[in-house]
Every structure is written in C-alpha cells, then in structure tokens.
C-alpha cells in the first residue's frame, strides 16, 4: 500500500519534471537567433502548463485527491480562476496596447 502511494508520488514528480523540461523546447521554438520574440501561443501554453503543474502539485503532493469534495472543488475553481485572470488580463492588455 505504501509502495503504491510512494510510486504515485514518484510518477507525479516525473510528470512535473517532464513538463518543466518541455519549457526548454517551447522557449527554443520562440527564440530566433537568440532574441526572444513576442508570441501569444507561447504565452498561453506557458501559463496553461504552469497551472496544470499547480493542479498536479495540489492533487498529488498536497493530498487534495483524498480530501473532502469541498476542497477538491475549491482548489479546482481556484486554478480555473487563476487561468481566467491571467489569460484575461493578457488578452485585454494586448487589445489595449
């Protein structure tokens, strides 16, 4: 049983590290001749990946997975709220710029 949950933590960690490494590739694709260029796609993807990681950390590391439904829902809504706020402000800013 304990091995099971230990393994689960390890897998979660692996996934988180993998996503972190994917950022290297994203960045590489958005940098031309050493100069970073603005890119909506990169921004949106970067933010989404970050929030996916946050949710994994909450679910697996912070043990929300086994918590009461109130907490599970609340944390999910919070992550969603963060996504809406960050992406919303970003797109609003682009529209106003």
């Amino acid at each position: 049983m304990e091995d099971g949950s230990n393994r689960r933590l390890f897998v979660a960690w692996l996934i988180l590290v993998a996503i972190s490494l994917v950022y290297l590739w994203i960045d590489h694709s958005a940098t031309h001749r050493g100069i970073p260029t603005a890119s909506t796609v990169v921004t949106v993807v970067a933010i989404c990946f970050a929030l996916i990681k946050v949710r994994i950390i909450m679910r697996e590391f912070m043990e929300v997975r086994g918590a009461p439904q109130v907490l599970r829902r609340l944390t999910d809504y919070w992550v969603l709220l963060m996504a809406i706020a960050l992406l919303g402000v970003y797109f609003a800013g682009k529209a106003v710029a």
Partner: protein, 198 residues
Amino acid sequence: MTTTERAVSPVSEENPSERVPGGRDIWFFVLFESAIFTSYFCVYLFNRTQHEQVFLLGQSHLLLWLGVLETIVLLTSSWAVARCVQHARAGRYDGSKRDALLTAGFGVLFLLLKVGEWVRLIHAGHTFTSSEFFQYFFFLTVIHCIHLLIGFVVLGVLWYQLSDQKRRTQQTVETCATYWHSVDFFWVVIFALLYVVR
C-alpha cells in the same frame, strides 16, 4: 487483511470526506496568498503587453536552463516533504526526518542558485531599477524567496514535530508540508511568467 495492507492506508481510503490535509486554516492562507500573487501576476502581464519590447529585452538576459533547474530543485524538495508526510503517517519517523532534511537541503540549493543568479545579473548591470522588466523580476523573485525563508522556519517546526514524540501531531506535520508546497507552486507560476511567457 495482511499486515502490509493494514500498515498504512493511502489518503484516499482513509475517511476521505473527513480530513482536510493540514487543516482548513492553512488552506485559507494558501488560497488567499495565491489570490494576492495572482493579482501581482496580472499587473505584471498587463504591463508586459503595454511595453513588450522592454520586457522582451530584459527577459533575454535570463538563463532559461537555470530557471528550469531551479524549478526542478524546488519540485524535488516538494516531493521530499510529501514523502515525509506519508512516512510520518505510517509512524516511520526516522524516514520522515530524513525526508525533512532532504526538503531543507533542496530548499537551500534553490536559494543558492537564486542568489547566484541575482549576483550574476547585478554584475551585468541589471538591477531592480534598471528596467521595467527587472523591477518585476526582482520583485517577484525576492518576495518568493521571502516565502522560502519563512518556509525554512516552517521546516524547523516540522522537524521539531517529528522529533518530539509527546507533542507531535500528524495535522501539524501536514500543515507545514502544505505551506512548503505552496512555496513550490508559487514558483512554478512565477517561473513560467518571468522566463517563458513572451
């Protein structure tokens, strides 16, 4: 049931509707602090869209691989503290103390990498006041580091809990771990916003 099956039950099977990991109060803090940080992130993102070139130029001085390394180090420290909680729940306090030390160790490593990064940037002439991008960079990374330093105090409380048989409670162990995880996930977002977002 065999002894191995009874030794420890994973969280999801242990009265799932009863226990908030660490207690409701620390989660109030985590969510409230997330909201505050999100408001800072929104200010950053908005200003970024208004002064794109300045931000891009500033960002080009950052080393992405260093940011990724820091992220992985902090994720690993989070992993260690999560294991610490599980070992403590199973009564294996020696194992959990070892995990707590690992957590602190990776935390210190993160701090060293961060300070090294700051020193490098400052030597290259990029300071808090040198450009709008670096205002946000130093602000967000410093305020995160303050949370990290508080995290070390929290780890001290955790260590004390694990060491003292009479006064320890599983809930306090979880509370300390929950705080540490929040430091980790704040960094996850900060990293994406400062190092990757274009």
